[in-house]
Symmetry: C2
Subunit: 304 residues, 2 copies
Amino acid sequence: MKSPALVIVGSIGIDHIETPTVKKTNLLGGSVSYACAAASFFTSPGMVGVVGDDFPESFLDLYRTFDVDMQGLQHAPGRTFSWSGVYEENMDNRQTVETVLGVFEQFEPTLPEGYQSAPFVLLGNMHPGLQLHLLNQITAPKFVMADTMDLWINITRDELLEVVGKVNMLTINESEARLLTDSLHLMDAAQQLLAMGPEYVLIKKGEHGSTLFGKNGVYIQPAFPLPMVNDPTGAGDTFAGAMMGYLTKANACDEANLRRAMLHGSVVASFGVEAFSLDGLIGLESADIDRRVQSLLDMMRVDA
Amino acid sequence: MKSPALVIVGSIGIDHIETPTVKKTNLLGGSVSYACAAASFFTSPGMVGVVGDDFPESFLDLYRTFDVDMQGLQHAPGRTFSWSGVYEENMDNRQTVETVLGVFEQFEPTLPEGYQSAPFVLLGNMHPGLQLHLLNQITAPKFVMADTMDLWINITRDELLEVVGKVNMLTINESEARLLTDSLHLMDAAQQLLAMGPEYVLIKKGEHGSTLFGKNGVYIQPAFPLPMVNDPTGAGDTFAGAMMGYLTKANACDEANLRRAMLHGSVVASFGVEAFSLDGLIGLESADIDRRVQSLLDMMRVDA
């Protein structure tokens, strides 16, 4: 049995997405799909998730093309988790039309034995009780990143705070950071979040990039500017997956590697949002990523 | 008679500002006030503007403390230009309560002789017809930057396009860039603006920084992150003034100097928004600016 050095847990979804120009149904989605595909450019990640009876075999084939380890993928009777959403004109905001939890609602996995010793772990956005259940099975974590969302801040704050206190990095967007801390000011919110326990807080700002807060200060990662975003769904998961993949490959989580991981996360996410579902990542080569990394570095360099 | 190497033209205003926490009246404002004060850390700028009978002597004293050349400052009978505005909860949006044009409405200055040969010129946000009137008096421009706003895009588009075609750099915010080009996509809007003639287009994004578009590519300048913004009024003018001051001191407008000028513009603007009116710039020393420049560079550096 293989023991992947990076384990990624999250939702596997079937998405129905409408943008101002296009409507697409029955897309492969979910945080773990995006994150595993993104991580696969750096390492072979172990996927932990659940699918229902309706999950197409072709999606499993797609995971295989990304060299994802599927020992942690469960099949359960019932419907696969599904999300339907509509993006507004400028793609900045989206409305959820419907969320069907399906088999994800009862998901409480026991990790495959080879996964429990994984040094790198990405806990996608899910019920914090489930995140704790998983954390308790990890025997020797080196770097654990957890994502969350406003829903859990509102309805399961105490459990979420327990998660925040046990992980190395919390990823969260601006409005969620303010919601979790009751602070209007981002710098202040970040400091309050750091005081809750994690070594690092990564604030996600979508097209405006992301900012890392830690004991060594602040790092500002601009997003790779694109002429056109076709589907921002999963951008944060793609970013997080690529970032964790980079750290796993480097087998390091010092500040310099974190910054380079964010740089690579931005770039892989930029490919992801150019197309629906995983289409922007399919067929992508390391050389494509390296070229865009160099291009983004040139845009960030003061001494041109 | 002195011949300042940088001439800055714009409004001189008396502002009344309300934020979620504070209300202040009779503040010194206007684009030229902010821009000249910001530029003064790098050069002694020549100020071109007009004030009315009601303009306090103490504000003129303040200009003098910033070593602003006031040969181009006119006094006219009537009220000084005045702006009243209210900032919303998150400081992102503001509503104009009242604008009194006053003596600024009839402003059509003849530049002092020593100003006409200035190599560096900043045309603040004003009627594009007035911007053209000024441009025509500049005999040997090396680098001219022009600012504008949605009002001029809507009511004087043709004259504005003439300005855009004659300057080296246009500064404009995101929504205005979209408005002027009918493009929803910022990269596309920037390319369309470049096709209108300027060498560079600088897109202002407030707390998200600014992005430079030019023939050599893109440069992304993050804003200096602040724990608290007390008054964002004039941030763009402060940025532009410091940027032009930096270029004037360097006597250069190549890409590397433009990038460093943006870095310094961001930093000086960050001091400006920490307090109302020019208060954040009063007493500021070059060493304070240099320290914050170094700090921002550390936040932008991938290899920490």
